[in-house]
Symmetry: C2
Subunit: 587 residues, 2 copies
């Protein structure tokens, strides 16, 4: 693949584009468009933005991703978690409904787009690894709970707000008296209907004669049915006059050309939220893309994905949208509907553009409660109560990171939640990386194998101490290494030779090298020789570039068996302690 | 050791205290006291504080450490690097010479003390591992350069300032015209004399008949000689009237009882600097203490050291001092002078207390230039120009962290330098941890050993792919693992069995487990079975607590040889791809 095609994947798949691919892509685009219209309006509302912004964010970003993205089937656009994060970040700098709030959302999109693109160009995709699976799943579960709770007020027709779970619950409790009967009737029945659609509609469709695949696709149109029926209900029963909130006038037309703010103060305020949105969006998107690509034995390039998502978000910002990413549900629908290339995304963009040109007047009487029901049903599937149980059984450290992420997200909001999750994961990792695995080993009788003395009946000799190190030596465990070796030596008063068996040591960084030097000198001060055995080739090459081997009081043996055999023979007088202290000029 | 003695080590060594120990400790205390008097005054000046504060910081903190510390020979008090960090932190909130500046220094001591003690009680000493050797040595080198540069103005007798190297050099260049001849004469000759004392005095003393050890100790009094001679010069030549800055009146008496500020705003401003001072101080102190303890085959307890240093800093705060830690030079002198127990530190405290009661009037005419010379000579030994060369040859990653720390410290100040060093080290570590070592392996002919196919002539079979993983699987490399395995499979179109050889895998965290599950499902989708071999006992125990083994499409083999032998036989039809996608309920 040439360099140019790497940055513009369309050059590769575009070459073999034919009529068959076109018709597959078109069919997928129609199905995804129908699914996306209510979803885009709903997620924009969740982000605290006018519904039309959701449509705007589903047009140009899809075209940008089609040009730069590497997944054949990923569908980008507004998604629930990123919408919630946008509401939280924009809400911190302006009030919902003000032009400043919209400006903040657009600025988040451009910042996030630039960050993603820069990370892609610098090939920093590995930073997404900082989010472990338990942290991501904790964050998604907590976000699902927060989002569902935030929409309850629309189902009840009451006012309210709050960024954290206690604040939301408190506001619901205070205002529950305002509940509007008609809103609740619409909201509750739409919610129940949509829950039923998820599980119950497909079997019914199959029973009336549709093929399973067709039934599956048709069931995706359930939200559209809910939209149509509730609009008819509002119009025919005159519910708007009875206090049911409706979407109202949606501007008709294509997205405007918007220029994001270049106010550095605003950039400073939105920098951290934009970074978190970028990383969460990237992780969500790349997981979906990888899962789908593997299904068809295709590959995606994570660093180029960053560029693709970056381009999408920049496109969102310049067309009045807000942060977008690859969505799980819509990508799966796109895939199953038979999308073959990113062109399907571009056709979907055309579909949404047509909708925003011609359909918006029909949505005037759409009840807000219907959109809230769409969101609630979508996000409750994100809440995963099995994972904490599995994690508790599998690993207490992972459970801790998961639980901390859920708690902090619910109690202190989405941004604190992500940061707490990363910090908890990193601390637990560093803690375990600072205490690696090692064992005192002895020779298994009649063999040349060496095993842990605590688990096996092995041969040891009082004046030879063999320690097997089971991990690469880095600055995180260098200090531990010194303590571990010197403590084992302190336990064996007869020890004259220490052998470090390095069969599992893949690397020794400069800090660990200094610790080895310190161990060597301290042991030499006590008349004990330090030896190495089974050092790997690349590690040995590197050691030869330092002075360590010259200073080493003992030898480097090719095999542990040879080291043990030779040093076991040495029963002579203890060697004279050298005064390395003065030799090193420390005084 | 009982629980109580662990937190109060004096209970242990106090029991066996006898007359011989007393006389050793007393002798050491006298020598250290003589060395500490000029040093304490000088470091307080470096911290931008009145010289007497240096004496205060050398009394109660020593007694607190004697009670709580675990090193027998560590000497705590003001040190150069921490003094520089204090000047930088206090200078950010108040102007030198104001009561607010002194209050900030005292508040830094109490904050740092509380942080150290809390970290000790929570056993968080491992956090100091975040500072790698290359980062520490880069920080110390850069601090040495900064400190020496900051003192040049006192040698020249000019005004100036600045927190960063360019600012200091600029201010020196602007004011060089103000140079005072007499100050320069004193400063330059004191500097040259002290440099000569370091190298040249001991041989002279030996030649006139002193024993080498006594000569070494006597040479430590060199700075005292410079102090006496320059005071005499000032008095006899009337230099104070000729523009030579002198120390002036030093309050006579014991340290006052001071109450640190409890202004939460100030605490907030000083929180990060105090944390950095704590960590740098702890790392410096614990390295010295470990080196000395190992010399006498004693042990120190790093977490209890945190408690000891915490107590010292709290004591410093309540007696009008500023942040202290274990110093390298003084601890080595204390050790070599024969100190046996922490009581030597307490006797030193008494010596300094006597000095602050009776000696301070004698120091009225001490030239500031002499103190500056003391500092310059002390810190230039911190500047280490060999380390960057060694690091460049040994490891480019470590060199990068080292160079970044030096540059940021010089150009942006000490706090940014420490933070940049930790961040650079962590990023480089995470980058390499996210791309661990693994290899496709084959069987060495006529053996049961398996080796890297790229380095050895080994037997492989097209439908069996064996991958040896050389590191523990964690969330940092989980995504890499998926990519690596799927790419190797994509390269071998005939592959029907993948064996992951786990002989070097010490742990599999929850994220890596999910990646293994994903690999298993994706391979199964393509009709390829996943097998494991040589899984370690503890890892297997944990896997058995998950559902992974139930879902695994292949088997777990005790040995790689057995796995390879059995799967090599299987030349039958490809197994039917299972549609795990639908089975997992993802749609």
């Amino acid at each position: 693949m040439n360099r140019f095609a790497r940055y513009l994947p369309i050059l590769e798949w575009g070459r073999s584009y034919d009529r068959l691919t076109l018709s597959s892509d078109m069919l997928a685009a129609v199905i995804v468009t129908i699914m996306l219209i209510p979803q885009s309006l709903a997620y924009a509302m969740l982000a605290g933005l006018p519904p039309v912004v959701g449509l705007y964010a589903s047009i140009l970003p899809l075209i940008a991703y089609a040009l730069f993205g590497t997944s054949r089937t990923l569908a980008v656009g507004p998604v629930a978690v990123v919408s919630l994060m946008t509401a939280s970040a924009a809400g911190a700098v302006a009030a919902q409904g003000t032009p400043e709030y919209l400006e903040a959302a657009i600025t988040l999109a451009v910042l996030s787009g630039v960050m993603l693109a820069v990370m892609g160009i610098l090939r920093l995709g590995f930073l997404a690894n900082l989010l472990s699976h338990p942290v991501i799943s904790g964050f998604i579960t907590a976000s699902g709970i927060l989002i569902a709770t935030s929409q309850l007020r629309h189902i009840l027709g009451i006012s309210g707000g709050g960024d954290t779970w206690p604040a939301m619950l408190g506001s619901l409790a205070r205002n529950i008296g305002e509940t509007n009967f008609w809103t609740l009737a619409i909201g509750a029945s739409a919610t129940l209907f949509l829950f039923w659609v998820r599980r119950g509609l497909k079997p019914v469709l199959v029973r009336i004669g549709l093929k399973p695949r067709a039934a599956e696709m048709t069931a995706k149109a359930g939200p559209v049915l809910a939209v149509i029926v509730t609009i008819i209900a509002v119009v025919s029963l005159g519910l708007a006059a009875k206090g049911v909130s409706i979407v109202g006038a949606i501007p008709q037309g294509l997205p405007p050309f918007a220029v994001p703010s270049f106010d550095l103060g605003l950039w400073g305020q939105l920098f951290v939220p934009a970074l978190l949105i970028s990383i969460i969006g990237f992780v969500e998107s790349v997981s979906v893309a990888q899962t789908l690509a593997a299904k068809r034995r295709q590959r995606i390039a994570p660093n180029q994905e960053l560029v693709g998502l970056g381009a999408s978000n920049i496109a969102a910002a310049f067309s009045g949208g807000y942060p977008v990413t690859g969505g799980f549900a819509r990508s799966v629908v796109n895939f199953d509907a038979g999308a073959q290339t990113p062109a399907a995304g571009a056709y979907t963009a055309v579909g949404i553009a047509l909708a925003s040109l011609f359909l918006t007047p029909l949505l005037f009487n759409l009840p807000v409660a219907t959109l809230a029901a769409t969101i609630i049903v979508a996000v409750l599937s994100l809440v995963d109560l099995k994972t904490p149980i599995k994690l508790w059984r599998y690993s207490k450290a992972d459970f801790t990171a998961h639980a901390a992420t859920i708690l902090v997200t619910l109690l202190a909001g989405v941004e604190s939640g992500v940061i707490a999750g990363v910090a908890a994961g990193l601390l637990l990792y560093l803690w375990s990386a600072s205490r690696p695995h090692a064992a005192v080993v002895g020779r298994v009788p009649e063999t040349e194998h060496f095993r842990n003395v605590e688990r096996h009946d092995v041969i040891t000799i009082p004046h030879v101490l063999s320690i097997r190190i089971d991990e690469g030596l880095t600055y995180l465990n260098a200090r531990w290494l010194e303590e571990y070796v010197l403590e084992r030596v302190a336990e064996g008063p007869l020890v004259k030779h220490v052998i470090l068996m390095c069969s599992a040591v893949n690397s020794i960084d400069a800090s660990a090298l200094e610790s080895l030097e310190a161990i060597n000198h301290r042991l030499a001060d006590g008349g004990i020789a330090l030896h190495l055995s089974e050092v790997k080739g690349p590690v040995m090459d590197r050691l030869e570039r330092s002075h360590f081997l010259d200073e080493l009081s003992g030898e480097v043996f090719l095999s542990q068996a040879r080291a043990f055999a030779k040093l076991s023979q040495d029963n002579g007088q203890p060697t004279e302690p050298t005064d390395h202290w003065h030799a090193r000029g420390l005084i």
